[in-house]
């Protein structure tokens, strides 16, 4: 351990956590200075606050029924009410929680699964590489959405089942991205140097290569979150999301039958989904610009 400590630069008085925090603050500051990044950060911050303080913001409890069903927008119900008299504005506020939980949960799940597979396949050559990449290919070919519909219809829907299903649908992209990064980096001199220094394989993969590989991967996390939110909304729209949770897609499912007489049941939930997806994409654009200044003015997300 003393040998490892000696490698640390002398200026690093603060622990690794403090240094991570400092680099996070710099990156966040840089993102906020890009045009798209600033807009994206603002939208995401707003959604996060709405999700965190939902009970304080929502004027009604999500399932509380007003006397008038399908009431148009008014001062009492600014986005109107649905067919059972629930306040749509309050439903949207609480639905933010579901969407963000699925979006972020699935994106990080995909990061862990795809990251692990991509790392192992990219670092080790030979059998490990070819077997793992065939698995990635298999999952990219499987009609995951078909299987998700099937599973949800058979076993009923729950938050965790949805989360796993969405992760299974989106992880191969992240896996491919990490794989590409590790393939690019595994032949570099600093990796060879680390091998000569007899550092452990885990150390080389996680402490040496990972910091150089991580940036486009983080951009992909933001994009994955937006795709996950769209998938959850789609399942909700088909009436297949968790019936015990309020979600934007579910409101649209109900709205399908009433939208010709009550446009507000469809307009506002869709706009909320749109806002979250656009926010995440703007954030990814900003992040991409910071990560790779040559990309200034270009767009992230070639893959999604």
């Amino acid at each position: 351990m003393s040998g490892a400590a000696a490698i640390e630069p002398p200026s690093a008085e603060a622990g690794p956590l403090a240094r991570a925090w400092r680099s996070f603050r710099t990156t966040a500051g840089n993102i906020a200075r890009t045009r798209h990044g600033a807009a994206g950060c603002a939208i995401l911050l707003m959604l996060a606050l709405v999700a965190a303080f939902a009970p304080l913001i929502a004027p009604y409890a999500p399932l509380q029924q007003a006397p008038a069903s399908l009431a148009p927008p008014s001062w009492e119900n600014i986005f109107g009410t649905d067919n059972t008299g629930r306040d749509i504005f309050s439903l949207l506020i609480y639905g933010t929680r579901t969407s963000l939980a699925i979006g972020l949960g699935a994106a990080f799940g995909a990061l862990i699964v795809g990251g692990a597979v991509g790392m192992l396949a990219g670092y080790f050559r030979g059998v490990v590489e070819s077997v793992l990449m065939r698995v990635v290919e298999l999952f990219q070919t499987l009609p995951v959405i078909v299987l998700v519909l099937f599973t949800v219809a058979l076993f009923g829907s729950s938050f965790w089942l949805l989360l796993v299903a969405v992760i299974l649908a989106i992880w191969p992209l992240q896996g491919r991205l990490v794989y590409g990064q590790y393939i690019r980096l595994r032949g570099m001199d600093f990796v060879a140097a680390a091998k000569v220094a007899d550092l452990s394989t885990a150390h080389i993969m996680l402490r040496e290569i990972l910091p150089s590989a991580i940036q486009p991967v983080i951009v992909q996390v933001a994009l994955d979150a937006s795709v996950a939110i769209l998938i959850e909304a789609g399942l909700g729209f088909l009436g297949l999301s968790d019936p015990n949770m309020v979600s934007w897609g579910q409101i649209l499912h109900v709205a399908q039958d009433y939208m010709t007489v009550a446009w507000w049941t469809s307009l506002f939930p869709g706009a909320a989904i749109c806002l979250a997806v656009v926010g995440l994409n703007l954030f990814a654009d900003g992040l991409n610009e910071v990560v790779d200044p040559r990309m200034r003015g270009r767009l992230a997300g070639l893959q999604t």
Binding site: H36, A153, P269, R298
Partner: protein, 322 residues
């Protein structure tokens, strides 16, 4: 080139087998009576039960069942849908062309629009025109297709009455020739538009990035120094060199759309594979679900193969395998 094609084919077959295997594994996971799982919510007489058990080897071990299923598949037998009272293959053959039609019409709109917007914003990079198109494309891309479809139906079909609200046309039509085509076009217009807006803006984003990349290359400066006009440069040097990323993504989109655009078809009640899938899932018509899943995987594999060939045709470096 032939060798390249053969190599890709050899690669695709084990993949298809693996995909089918996983899908069959899902079928095994269905709790309860396996005969009922095959048939769905449908009363089964004992004679029927015995016949199904024998046909699908349900009394045998899992490997035997998988093997016999593969043998059935190779004979073109995808099973029988007891809900629709038809062989599953017939159902797929009947509905798949509708999905293919919708997807192709959507693509015919999305590709030129996406390419055009991408080129416009890449050549006016970071100017006002670019900002306008980039931001519009971003917002349009964030709109969920099914919700956009709902809005289109609400405004253009219900309120203005310009288009029918659902379906793909009357079963019996008096119209002939051009007016028949015109009638059908009214039905496909809205679903194709909803599809094209989402995918077109996706294509625009990709085109912008790759055209911007190409414009920075040395040979573009050479072309400009030779005095070629902007249009000649774009047509002769930029388009072909920037098309590879677009082909990759377009292939991915096409492959997944052919397996049934579930949400889009649900919104517009377009009677394609997606709608069939939703119905089959609701009625627990599992043989149909499995059949559609296999078809969807096959579509992805075939499109990927075509994308590889197109790649090789466009970029000689890939053909030679370097």
């Amino acid at each position: 080139m032939l060798r390249f094609i053969l190599f890709r084919l050899l690669h695709a077959i084990p993949l298809l087998v693996a995909v089918i295997f996983v899908i069959l594994l899902m079928l095994q996971l269905i709790p309860g009576d396996p005969v009922q799982a095959m048939v769905g919510d449908f009363p089964v007489s004992p004679a029927f039960r015995a016949a199904i058990t024998k046909q699908y080897h349900l009394d045998d071990s899992f490997p035997v069942r998988v093997y016999s299923y593969f043998v059935n598949l190779l004979h073109g037998d995808f099973g029988y849908s007891y809900q629709f009272q038809k062989p599953v293959l017939d159902l797929i053959v009947e509905t798949a062309p509708r999905t293919i039609l919708l997807t192709l019409v959507g693509f015919l709109i999305a590709i030129p629009v996406g390419v055009l917007i991408g080129i416009i914003s890449a050549t006016t990079r970071n100017k006002r025109v670019d900002h306008f198109w980039t931001s519009s494309a971003l917002v349009a891309y964030g709109i969920p297709t099914f919700w956009f479809g709902q809005l289109l139906v609400l405004v253009l079909a219900v309120h203005l009455g310009w288009f029918p609200t659902q379906g793909m046309g009357p079963l019996v039509s008096r119209a002939h020739g051009f007016s028949w085509l015109w009638e059908r076009a009214h039905y496909i217009a809205l679903p194709a538009l909803a599809f094209a807006v989402h995918e077109g803006t996706r294509f625009a984003r990709i085109m912008r990035a790759s055209v911007a990349d190409t414009l920075g290359q040395g040979y573009i400066i050479t072309a400009r120094a030779k005095g070629l006009t902007r249009w000649a440069i774009i047509r002769g040097h930029v388009l072909r060199n920037s098309s590879l990323p677009l082909i990759t993504v377009a292939g991915y989109v096409l492959g997944s759309a052919l397996g049934g655009a579930v949400l889009l078809e649900t919104v517009f009640t377009w009677p394609g594979l997606g709608l069939l899938l939703v119905q089959a899932v609701r009625m627990r018509d599992n043989m149909t679900v499995v059949g559609i899943a296999i078809f969807a995987a096959l579509a992805v594999i075939v499109i990927n193969l075509l994308v590889d060939l197109l790649y090789a045709a466009i970029d000689p470096r890939i053909r030679s395998g370097s």
